[in-house]
């Protein structure tokens, strides 16, 4: 069982944001890319000591993502909080150490966050074509899920990173 320190996880999230702002875009396909911050938020919710820690960590990680975005401040904080809350509700019935569980959780969370963010952007600033929304959401979710497995494995085993 991996417990974590919220402070250390937030520091890791800052590094993940730097990764998203520099390297991730260069490795994207059709604008879809792996979302390291969301993957960390899933870790925060899956392995939290209690629900308070899970919710706070997910929310702060979402807020960090908002810092790097031109979108409204608080949008990703809200979406990550929602994803974290759902994971905390169902984690009793999940085998969280299993890579398959982590893969599934990250995929569903990425679908939710991307879809909700796309709808908000479409309503607030301008239409995004339906094909772009579906394609980018699914591809991003897939990349995020694939990234989640090695990331969570590392955080579970290299304990000094988060404890």
């Amino acid at each position: 069982m991996s417990k974590y320190s919220t402070g250390k996880l937030v520091l890791l999230a800052a590094a993940a944001l730097a990764f998203e702002l520099t390297l991730a875009e260069a490795w994207s396909i059709g604008g879809a890319r792996a979302e390291a911050l969301l993957s960390l938020a899933c870790f925060a919710a899956l392995f939290a000591r209690d629900s308070g820690q899970g919710l706070t960590a997910s929310w702060i990680i979402g807020l960090l993502k908002d810092v790097g975005s031109a979108g409204p401040l608080g949008l990703h904080a809200l979406l990550f909080l929602g994803a974290g809350w759902v994971v905390l509700q169902i984690r009793q019935i999940l085998f969280r150490e299993s890579p398959l569980t982590q893969l599934g959780v990250a995929f569903v969370a990425a679908c939710w966050v991307n879809l909700a963010a796309a709808i908000v952007v479409s309503i607030s600033v301008g239409g995004i074509p339906f094909g772009v929304i579906v394609g980018k959401t699914l591809l991003s979710a897939l990349f995020t899920a694939v990234l989640t497995v090695p990331l969570h494995l590392t955080l579970m085993h290299v304990r000094f990173l988060v404890r």
Partner: protein, 285 residues
């Protein structure tokens, strides 16, 4: 019976998020951009990491001193040639921009790009190392040569955020210029439409009338919009597909000519004072 686990409610954080969402962006933008500037050191980490092994495995004694001097001189040569290249590019950009913007005494400010991407996959923005202290204002157009990169949307004292042409919030009045130029036909006689970003690789040219002449490969350029400080003739992209479909308006896809991810510096277009205050140019055509 074990101790009861305390369940925290998500409502307080949800309320804070909603409050942040409702806060006008002008209130938070300065803090947000200043916080983002804290990530600038990460930009150079790759270069620094590449230099470490060579310095750790250097020779010893006199050879070491010579090697150090040699490395220093090489570094200086590299630095000067980089600077030279940068100046060449700036000059090239200035010359490229001179044609479309010469009539209105527009001023240009060169700005280095800090981050060429946005953390949200649905928004397209880049951050430059130039802010209100250097005279940057919201709404200014950002160019590379005679091509539009985007528009300034957020400003802080030392940094600014630019909404790029591929962002779904970017809009500009535009016309498609046929590849075969028809002499004597002015921009106003061609049917103008509205260019919009889509958050994908390509933008769209909308609201063109059905009989507008648009063909693949046509350049899409701006029409004059003094209110928003947009001169005519700046390139937005190139038409990649035209779908007439069943509707009254054809669906025109426009790809950006620039690789927005690879930009290292851009030019900010500062309209003359009379354009900024009245929204109309004083001289020129």
């Amino acid at each position: 019976m074990g101790p009861k686990r305390r369940r925290s409610s998500p409502w307080p954080l949800l309320a804070v998020s909603v409050l942040l969402l409702l806060t006008p962006s002008s209130v938070a933008q300065k803090t947000r951009l200043t916080a983002l500037a804290g990530f600038i050191p990460f930009q150079g980490l790759g270069t620094l990491a590449a230099r470490v092994p060579s310095s750790a495995l250097g020779p010893s004694g006199d050879a070491k001193a010579l090697a150090t001097e040699n490395a220093y001189l090489k570094d200086q040569v590299d630095k000067l040639s980089r600077e030279n290249k940068r100046k060449d590019l700036l000059l090239e950009q200035a010359l490229g921009m001179k044609q479309p913007v010469r009539d209105h005494n527009y001023r240009m400010i060169a700005a280095d790009v800090i981050f060429s991407t946005d953390s949200s996959p649905w928004r397209k923005s880049l951050t430059v190392a130039m802010g209100t202290r250097d005279g940057v204002e919201k709404g200014m157009l950002v160019l590379y040569n005679n091509q539009i990169v985007g528009r300034v949307t957020e400003t802080a004292p030392k940094t600014s955020r630019i909404q790029t042409v591929t962002d779904p919030g970017f809009r500009a009045a535009a016309v498609a210029v046929p590849r075969t130029y028809v002499a004597g036909v002015s921009f106003s006689e061609r049917q103008p439409g509205v260019y919009e970003g889509t958050s994908g690789q390509n933008g769209q040219l909308k609201w063109l009338s059905g009989d507008a002449v648009v063909e693949n490969g046509s350049f899409v350029v701006t029409t004059e919009d003094p209110v928003n400080g947009v001169p005519r003739g700046l390139v937005l992209g190139r038409v990649v597909s035209v779908n007439h479909g069943r509707g009254a308006f054809p669906k025109v896809e426009v790809e950006s000519i620039l690789n927005l991810r690879a930009l290292e510096h851009v030019m900010l277009l500062v309209p003359p004072m009379d354009v900024r205050s009245t929204g109309a140019p004083s001289g020129g055509r």
